[in-house]
Symmetry: C2
Subunit: 481 residues, 2 copies
């Protein structure tokens, strides 16, 4: 009887919730750390017995540590603690000269992208909790798509025809009274809404050009515009749309041909353009020969109102429309669409293709599968109810604990409350102190193209569990007191 | 007994190879085209019987046509031929003024991206045939990943740690004598190699800056550089690397800090830098304080030689390394990596995040699954044999039918032969005439930053079936005669 077969079965226990794979990996890391270089490690057979795991699981754990250079395997002889690489202190000084000053720093990336550790109350994130996603539909759609040709073929550069049709039809449902309904050919599929904005800004303007934006507005749009070399011209908005006069002045004075906005449930304020505001703004666009880049980011997150895209009624191509499925289907389904007409469409398509060629076909096929499943409609109506409950609970906590004037507007859709506190409060400092107590939120400074016009912050009600809203807002109230 | 139940079962036959879903869709389209607006269409039940299909399949086909606006459904009443939208003739003239002259036209997109119809012999494409991909591994990896959290969670902005480790370990295998092995932290995951190049060019240079490139070189790199506003400075290469003196002159005269190249099995020429050429070029990079953007596009396509990345031995961050998995795993697994050190890495990461936030986690998880499967190594060795057979057959046909001097080099890896024909031959015209006879290839003009230095074209041997190489090259020989 050799050494291996005497090893007791399952003697190394996994930690709570740890997979067999990770338990074996941890065990091997401990061994490597405690033993000299060249020392022989237990055989696969021994590890199989000690962990009561399959040989495949053991092989994968060994393979991982081989990849990291911690273990060397010699065929027929076994696995050994690998020789450590010597430490090299690199000289990157030459890069300072080569690169010159930075145009965009890491601070361009909003705090909304920070990863929250376990136990943290995440009111900063822009991504809804799993319970608000159609996860069952998404998983089975991905499994089905994995078996189709879309898993092994290159997708067309404009996107899958079925998905392009779906986006076009969403803008102009059959029977709707729409003057010039967009067609599938007016749609370009992109890997997410951010990529859509980046391409639009690069394609429709030149470095140095101006672009008008609402203030406050989405940090990612500001970052993408600056990356494209554009100069942001802010126009104020509160709970209403920017005025037509302001827009006209800004376009006229700056020479900008682009106006970026979120007419529905704007991020971060939650405001919604009224029907008369829409008409007034459209008239300015026509008079000035300008584009509205309509970011319909919250199309699926209407609560007391539905998003009604301006792009549906756009006969002469003044609206460049963006809609993403990432937040409503799954963060892994990186799929969005740009709808545009005329030369603008052609330029955006060229930029997209040069930027990254095409979007993975399997993600597009899975999206079509979910969106044409009868379960998608029922998911959306359940989602509306869940968002209403969450929004109302967060609004109740904010008004109750931070004061009735902390909320100017309870938004009729979207994922966020835009909270105002006393002028002079250092909101960035508040965010640091709250983070130390386990509450993350997004300070107002991230959302203004220029200096913030007051002490604002954004609370997202779609991610943390609603029963945590009370203690989280409680912590903010205490820190503000 | 009502009308529906008398419909004979399965009376409408699908065409050869057509799915039930598509057969029903075709049937409905025929009905819509032949009937007046408002006419009632057959009930779901009738369609189920006529097509011997499931109600779900029928519902999906109906839904598709509803999306396209061809059919209207009224709950309880049935489906009807929809009212046609009136035709609107749009006025896009204003966009000419708004947009100004185009910087990048559609001709920036190489002919390699053209979609080939059925029956065409595709020697133009850059994407290997399905039989050269590990499709079984890819499909099962996607199915497995669809069941993990990566299908419903946002991936980290730099990429999945396991995938970053894998790319780093590939550059510096355990036991290799590498001075400063890259670590997982030096890796940024991108949605494909093209996206990696776009981000690198934007992040490491400013509009107006120069970038040195081999000539001929990859069309996508030229397009991405021009999109970033860079000026391409070409240096000639034939079957060898550019000379160190040429590179030194080009960097010195242009002030460029970037040199883009494919040291292994370059696209389109297939050339491979020798060990002394590598050293000479590295010395110039150090002396000039410049970066080499090493595009290791054919890492998995070595035939008589292996790719040995310069980035493996790069202590001070002069090499920015790009490796994509799209061509070797599946066109649907849009995953690549940039490996860089120092401030360059940080700038590339910021550009990537601003450009499109993050890469779908499920694609990354599936990639890790395939790459750590024991089947991946055996796939790679089978692939090498298949590519050798294809390359040799294509080389035999080219030399036999186009003359021995048509090929200066039989590449030791990669997917293409670079063919030269008599000076003065109009290769673009030849491509059009060959396309009319069902043979697609990529004319040399796509691959030169400036005027082509001769009449070249590229034949890809990885996509069409090898038994078609003889007739395809025969057509070219006849057209050239």
């Amino acid at each position: 009887m050799n050494e291996d077969s005497t090893a007791p079965r399952g003697t190394v226990k996994p930690l709570d919730g740890e997979s067999a794979h990770l338990a074996i990996e941890r065990h091997l890391r401990d061994l490597v750390a405690s033993r000299p270089v060249g020392d022989r490690l237990p055989s696969t057979r021994t590890l199989v017995l000690e962990h009561a795991a399959s040989p495949l699981t053991v092989q994968r754990a060994l393979q991982r540590l081989v990849l990291e250079g911690l273990i060397e395997t010699r065929p027929g002889a076994g696995s050994f603690v690998a020789r450590r690489h010597s430490v090299h202190r690199a000289d990157f000084g030459w890069q300072t000269t080569a690169l010159g000053a930075a145009r965009t720093g890491a601070d361009a990336i909003g705090t909304a992208m920070a990863n929250a550790g376990p136990g943290v109350i995440a009111l900063h994130s822009g991504y809804p909790a799993e319970e608000l996603l159609p996860t069952r539909l998404v998983r089975s759609a991905l499994v089905r798509a994995a078996r189709t040709n879309t898993a092994v073929e290159r997708a067309p550069i404009s996107g899958l025809p079925e998905l392009r049709s779906w986006f076009a039809a969403e803008l102009a449902p059959a029977g709707a009274s729409v003057a010039a309904p967009p067609a599938a050919d007016d749609v370009v599929i992109t890997p997410g809404g951010q990529s859509a904005l980046s391409s639009i800004f690069r394609a429709l303007a030149n470095p140095g050009d101006a672009i008008v934006m609402e203030s406050p507005t989405y940090w990612g749009a500001m970052a993408a515009a600056r990356q494209a070399g554009l100069r942001i011209v802010p126009i104020a908005r509160g709970t209403t749309a920017p005025t037509a006069a302001d827009l006209d002045d800004a376009l006229g004075a700056s020479g900008a041909r682009l106006f970026y906005a979120q007419p529905h449930f704007a991020n971060p304020t939650g405001a919604l353009w009224s029907s008369s505001e829409r008409s007034a703004i459209t008239a300015v666009l026509h008079a000035r020969g300008a584009y509205l880049i309509e970011d319909d980011w919250a199309h699926d997150f209407g609560i007391d109102a539905d998003a009604a895209p301006l792009a549906a009624d756009d006969a002469d191509g003044h609206i460049v429309y963006v809609r993403s499925l990432t937040k409503s289907l799954s963060p892994a389904v990186r799929v969005a669409a740009v709808v545009a007409r005329g030369p603008a469409l052609a330029r955006i398509q060229v930029d997209r293709t040069v930027d990254d060629l095409y979007v993975s076909g399997i993600l597009q096929a899975a999206a079509v599968d979910v969106l044409t499943d009868p379960g998608w409609r029922s998911h959306l109506s359940r989602l509306r109810g869940s968002l209403r409950g969450r929004r109302d609970e967060m609004a109740r906590q904010v008004r109750g604990q931070l004061g009735a004037d902390a909320l100017e507007l309870v938004p009729r859709g979207g994922l966020n409350l835009w909270v105002r506190t006393n002028d002079g409060v250092d909101v960035a400092g508040l965010a640091r102190r709250a983070a130390a107590e386990g509450v993350l939120f997004s300070p107002g400074g991230d959302w203004f193209p220029a200096e913030p016009t007051g002490s604002f912050f954004r609370l997202n009600y779609s991610r943390a569990r609603p029963e945590l809203f009370e203690p989280a807002v409680g912590i903010l109230a205490r820190l503000l007191a």
